[in-house]
């Protein structure tokens, strides 16, 4: 899959050497390929990132084991060496053309930074603000992402920001509601993701936002303003992506997954209301809204985005089960549930295959195959 981008880049280099295109054209063509290949990940990158995750876990667990036979200054020195070697070595790997290995080395270096904070806290028996430690770790990772223009480090910073948000929310004895400064952090990371060209970071940020809204609602439970605002914003996002695709692409940078992401946001917002009203008569309204949203998204954008289609099918099936458990669960026995589930799944399978056939008959659309 990703070999497409690599192949085109090789071709561009060859054309430039052959004198078919000039340097400026070659540069802008390469940039365009990079920009539009954001969603594709090669097998090598996946393996390199998994290796980086394993190394990182090894470093963190090594610190947690608090191994006495090894002087602590030596442990600190070793982590410092990993930080320095990881960043500089990663840069050297990147320059020699091994992109994935370079990014993986940077991830290990960023993990070593976090492990060093944990180790120093351990050496000096510091307790208390773990959330702040994670925040500092995330800030250091974001700084590295900005300086090195690294997409994976940006995604890492987004995950650390999400962890910080969760820790701040649950640090008190009661659910305190997520920290509002996270919104500013998220906006800054969203802006950073354009500089580092990280599509993944933007999608992770939006998913964290849904979590933020859910935490905000369940900490307070007094008004549906936040989840409904999320659903409305997601609907606007969907409309924006449909009516002004070029502007939406430039301003939001969500790629071909924009409709699926918008549907996820809509269902998250409506789903919070559903969960809150589960035992009340009002439950039927958000449920109708959810089904309407799924069907509308499917009819409007289903043709162009396979990611959206499959997400919508899954959401539809999930809602059927959810509805059954809530509405009928108390009335029928288990056998009845299995019978009903079997019948609805067959009906669903029939409908999906018909829908898919119609789309296939209509011919491959732009982006339909690249989900």
């Amino acid at each position: 899959m990703a070999s497409y981008a690599t192949k085109v880049k090789h071709d561009i280099a060859r054309w430039r050497e052959a004198g078919l295109i000039d340097d400026a054209t070659a540069g802008s063509l390469s940039l365009d390929v990079e920009r539009n290949a954001g969603g594709q990940v090669s097998f090598g990158t996946v393996l390199a990132m998994m290796a980086a995750a394993l190394f990182s876990a090894a470093i963190l667990i090594f610190v947690a084991a608090n191994w006495e036979d090894f002087p602590r200054l030596a442990r600190v020195g070793m982590l410092f060496a990993i930080i320095l070697g990881g960043y500089v070595g990663g840069a050297a790997l990147k320059l020699s053309g091994r992109e994935a290995a370079g990014e993986a080395a940077w991830i290990v270096a960023a993990a070593a930074f976090g492990a060093s904070i944990a180790l120093i806290a351990q050496i000096y028996h510091m307790s208390g603000d773990e959330a702040q430690a994670v925040f500092v770790w995330g800030a250091g990772t974001a700084l590295a992402a900005a300086a090195l223009r690294s997409g994976p480090l940006t995604a890492g910073a987004v995950l650390l920001a999400g962890a910080w948000m969760l820790m701040r929310t649950s640090s008190a004895w009661w659910l305190a509601g997520p920290p509002l400064p996270w919104l500013a952090v998220a906006a800054a990371l969203y802006a950073l993701s354009f500089w580092t060209r990280s599509l993944l970071a933007r999608h992770l940020l939006l998913l964290s936002l849904y979590l933020f809204v859910a935490l905000a609602y369940f900490a307070d439970e007094s008004s549906f303003a936040a989840p409904l605002a999320l659903a409305a914003a997601a609907a606007l996002l969907f409309a924006f992506g449909r009516l002004r695709p070029a502007e939406a692409g430039r301003l939001l940078g969500l790629g071909q997954e924009l409709p699926a992401q918008a549907l996820a946001g809509f269902l998250a917002g409506v789903g919070i209301v559903q969960a809150a009203l589960v035992d009340e008569p009002g439950f039927v309204f958000p449920t109708i809204l959810a089904f309407a949203g799924i069907v509308a998204a499917l009819l409007l954008e289903g043709h162009d985005s396979r990611a959206l289609r499959w997400f919508a099918y899954a959401a539809f099936a999930f809602h059927l089960c959810f509805l059954y458990v809530v509405m009928l669960g108390s009335m029928m026995d288990t056998a009845g549930f299995f019978l009903l589930a079997g019948l609805s799944l067959s009906a669903l399978a029939f409908l999906i295959s018909r829908f898919e056939r119609r789309i296939a008959a209509a011919g491959p659309a732009n982006g339909g195959s690249a989900a």
Binding site: A65, I123, H125, S127, L143, A147, S171, A172
Partner: protein, 194 residues
């Protein structure tokens, strides 16, 4: 070639900034250990079920729960906001050498300034006050004692049988740092500077 040098330089700069931050963390702690005022606190066992989590022992002290009366006219202030507000607790040594709280204040040091033999330690409240609050829980950042993997259980059971004491260094800003851990007259553990 400029782009190549730029990336290596940027990577080195990131490493230097991150390592520099970590070194400043260590230096700050070492400074408190070297020159901070010393106080001795009585270690109190925590709810035994929560005592040991992984590779550290959770500790409480004789100053972890402060009677509301130590906060002069600060009841309304205590009710504001949620937990996590800064407090300064004035400590004074008793006859047995253990320091005990004599006054406390939100946001700043108690008035008048600390006399000879008194130390102001900085902490953070754990919860909001209500009308029925009698004790305020305060954390000082010294509630964990890290031990090598597997050695926690022993200390945990000893803690419930005997009185342990902790010598703590207090920096100029009121930050507390564990210095040494005592079981009666025997010193179990002393913190080297680095």
């Amino acid at each position: 070639m400029n782009g190549r040098r730029w990336l290596i330089l940027a990577a080195a700069a990131v490493a230097v900034v991150q390592i520099g931050f970590l070194v400043s963390m260590i230096a700050g702690r070492a400074a408190v250990l070297r020159s901070g005022q010393e106080v001795v606190l009585q270690v109190e066992p925590v709810d035994p079920r929560d005592l040991l989590r992984g590779d550290y022992v959770t500790l409480a002290y004789n100053i972890s729960r402060l009677p509301v009366g130590l906060f002069p006219d600060r009841q309304e202030e205590g009710a504001q906001g949620e937990g996590g507000r800064t407090v300064f607790v004035r400590l004074k040594a008793g006859e047995d050498g253990v320091f005990r709280p004599v006054a406390a204040r939100f946001g700043q040091r108690p008035e008048p300034a600390a006399a000879e033999g008194e130390v102001d330690m900085r902490g953070a409240t754990r919860s909001r006050w209500s009308a029925s609050t009698q004790f305020v829980s305060v954390r000082y950042g010294i509630e964990r004692f890290y031990v090598p993997e597997g050695e926690g259980r022993e200390i945990e059971s000893d803690l419930r049988e005997r009185a342990f004491r902790m010598k703590v260094a207090v920096g100029r800003d009121g930050a507390a740092q564990i210095k040494s851990f005592h079981d009666g007259e025997t010193m179990l553990y002393a913190e080297p500077l680095y």
